[in-house]
Amino acid sequence: MKWTNLRGIIWIGGSLLALACGVRVNHPAGAETTGRRINVKEYGATGDGKTDDSRFIQAALDSASIGDTVYLPKGTYLVHTIRLVSNVHLVSDGLLKQPDELSAQFAVEKQHSDAPLFRAHRISNVFLSFRAETANEAIYASQCSNLTLANSQLTGDSTNNRSFPAVLWYSCAASRVVGTTITQYGGARESPTTYHPGTAVRVLSSQGITISGNRFHHNGENGIFIHDSGDVEIDGNHIHHNGMSGIQVAFNTAERVMNYRITNNRLEYNAADAVDINNRAHGRVVAINALIAGNYSKSNGFVKGESTPDGSGIGTLIGISGVTLSGNRAFGNNRPALYIEGCGAITANRNITDGAFELVGQWEHIRMEGNSFHTLRLLANAEGRLLDIRHSQIGSIMLPNGIRVDSVSIIENEINSGPININMEGHLKFEGNRLRSGHESGALLLVKTKSASLLGNHIFNAKNAAITVRKTALNVRIDSNFVTSGGTWIHDFKPPNIKINKNTVREHATKEMQ
């Protein structure tokens, strides 16, 4: 064997050893390692938990040069507010603690405190890693860029029912929160109707934000709240037991709200939605180019076992367009897994849930392929251009009277529980499906369609007529279907232009249907 190969094997063996030893992060990615390490104890900090160490830590920061890292060794550092400095990093093995008397209250009129633990304004290139117990924000940054908060543990004041968030970024760019645990900002939600402010990460009017690999739990309000911001990646977080939604995206001027990637998150036991993107107030549909994929959600929308008004599992989408939802799994949530209201183009593929997909108000194009879900439900005011559902496992389809959809395509699905009542203004394609119904009303009712193509379906119906076609259904073609019915196979009210052809039917087949 050549020496180069042997060297490779030795090198790999070394790697294996490193893995076996369980190497841990001690200087996270992003931290500059070229500068000096400045120990705050050299500047007089005591870390005894009694002395106010603020000015010593500040002195260490102010004395640092570009690329230096201010280091806090083990101990408890009583701190009021520290002002961060551009290009100077801070890493702490000790605990930073704010005195309780600093605690102030969040209000809509005043959304940041006067005494955050770390204040950053118009600075850039800072890496932070620390443990803290704070009365107000752990970090409040405004107009900053390239800030990284990594591998930190932040604990708030759970007795403050109007808490500021742990991390507040206002008008920041290219910044990130990674590998961080944030808990107890704000009081726990006690009732289905009210909650207490206090969010883990609150991002306002910012651009280029990454929130990845964190754990946000037991905070008063949202895990993550994003407002009027764009180019946002929220990936691989575990967000649970918060008083409102796991992730909420809100709008202001809307121009900035685009390019979202919400992937691989675990969202459970939050009192509202897993993911809520709500542009209802803005008044027009906004294309946001979002990917919501690979998330897992469970049991959202409850407080102490009682239902709150919220609790979608995959997403609540209101007034937006250009969203792809894929590979998400959602179980045991309070509200429909996917709630779509007043949207443009939405694509949902290969999601699995025990919940419903619900469509409300107007929409442009909704395409769903390869999903498994309990119910498709359109509300009475539903009005859309295109609804295309294919290759899916669907419990039932509930289409109320009077919906208006230009084109509905239901292709090659397994639909486990009829009947499907289609009373709509528009064109219907119902092709290649397997539909079962044990209901008195039969399996399929057609009323008022402009055209309907029932082609190549397998329909199993227990009672009465399998297919009923009212006189108001126009241009109906029923072709090459396989119908097994406990009653007659079709009840035809002689609508104009109906064409019935090549169907294979078994009528009064009660034995087969048992």
């Binding site: 064997m1 190497v23 690979g294 590979g327 998400n328 392929e369």
Partner: protein
């Protein structure tokens, strides 16, 4: 007529790049613009490209990024209906390679296509097997509905020789920035999720293969593990590869036993290197930065904050 641009990222392309220039000059397909985006070559790559009339651009301050660099080239030269990407060592096997890959876009459902890769002349037996296993001669059209059958292989593709329909490409936001690799797979996944189809074009061929050392195999699979860790949503959307890795290993053992059985120990070492690299890559978040950098083939990726 369909307007087509060709984009090639380069860094000291050497003789393969010269061969690529010759092969491109011989293509039947009319190309609107040839664009080279160079990472700082010092071996005459840039001069050779300019001599052939190529547009040449640098990386700027951003540094090389698999997705970002390619997107930068498109942003600078966006005027085409189809964007073709080649790597500097992927040499069209005949004069029709580009014509054949462009032709599949006549089907309005096709959003992206990628071509067949043949081993370079003189490639090792393992390189040859890798190409023959992953790039069969039959053309295949795949859509989202095929995910149940092929799992993650549904969106298998390579920017070594790939083409994108501009409208589809822009619809999914172009190449992602800041990914360690797999920008092509991410775009393919987004396209299929948005209802497009992709084509594997068996008669659009390039010569492209690599002779990796054990260490390089390890590093490459470390990067694959990192990519999979960072993009788990792709597997949630398309499924896993299931037994594909095992099938590949068996196939490679059979292939080597029939041709050069004395290389079997090397094959086994290569499996171990790949497996270890992949597993370490999957758990990269618990490794310190210096180890991530040491294990990775794409060192510069870890330099960013």
């Amino acid at each position: 007529m369909t307007k087509v641009n060709v984009y090639i990222p380069t860094l000291n392309g050497g003789q393969h790049f010269i061969a690529l220039l010759d092969a491109l000059a011989a293509q039947h397909a009319p190309i609107t613009q040839h664009v080279v985006i160079d990472s700082g070559s010092t071996d005459g790559t840039v001069e050779a490209a300019r001599a052939e009339g190529f547009e040449v651009m640098g990386l700027g301050d951003a540094g090389f990024d698999h997705g970002g660099t390619r997107q930068r080239a498109i942003d600078a030269y966006p005027q085409a209906d189809v964007y073709i990407f080649l790597t500097q060592d992927a040499i069209p096997a005949d004069e029709s390679a580009l014509t054949n890959i462009i032709r599949v876009f006549d089907d309005p459902q096709i959003g992206m296509a990628y071509g067949r890769q043949l081993p370079h002349k003189g490639a090792t037996v393992m390189e040859a097997h890798a190409r023959l296993f992953n790039y069969p001669p039959q053309t295949q059209i795949r859509g989202l509905a095929d995910a149940d059958t092929y799992g993650i292989k549904t969106i298998s593709c390579s920017n070594s020789f790939a083409a994108y329909r501009r409208s589809a490409f822009e619809g999914v936001g172009g190449f992602p920035r800041g990914t360690i690799m797999g920008e092509d797979v991410i775009v393919a996944g987004r396209l299929l999720l948005d209802g497009w189809k992709m084509a594997y074009v068996g008669d659009a061929c390039v010569y492209h293969s690599h002779a990796y050392s054990l260490r390089e195999e390890f590093e490459r699979y470390f990067d694959i593990g990192v990519f999979h860790n960072d993009n788990r949503w792709i597997f949630d959307s398309f499924g896993k590869a299931d037994s594909e890795g095992f099938r590949y290993a068996l196939s490679e053992i059979r292939y080597v036993v029939r041709r050069k059985p004395w290389l079997l120990p090397k094959v086994c070492c290569s499996f171990v290197a790949k497996w270890l690299g992949y597993k370490l890559g999957l758990s990269y978040r618990s490794l310190p930065l210096r180890l991530r950098k040491a294990f990775s083939m794409y060192k510069a990726y870890w330099g960013r904050g």
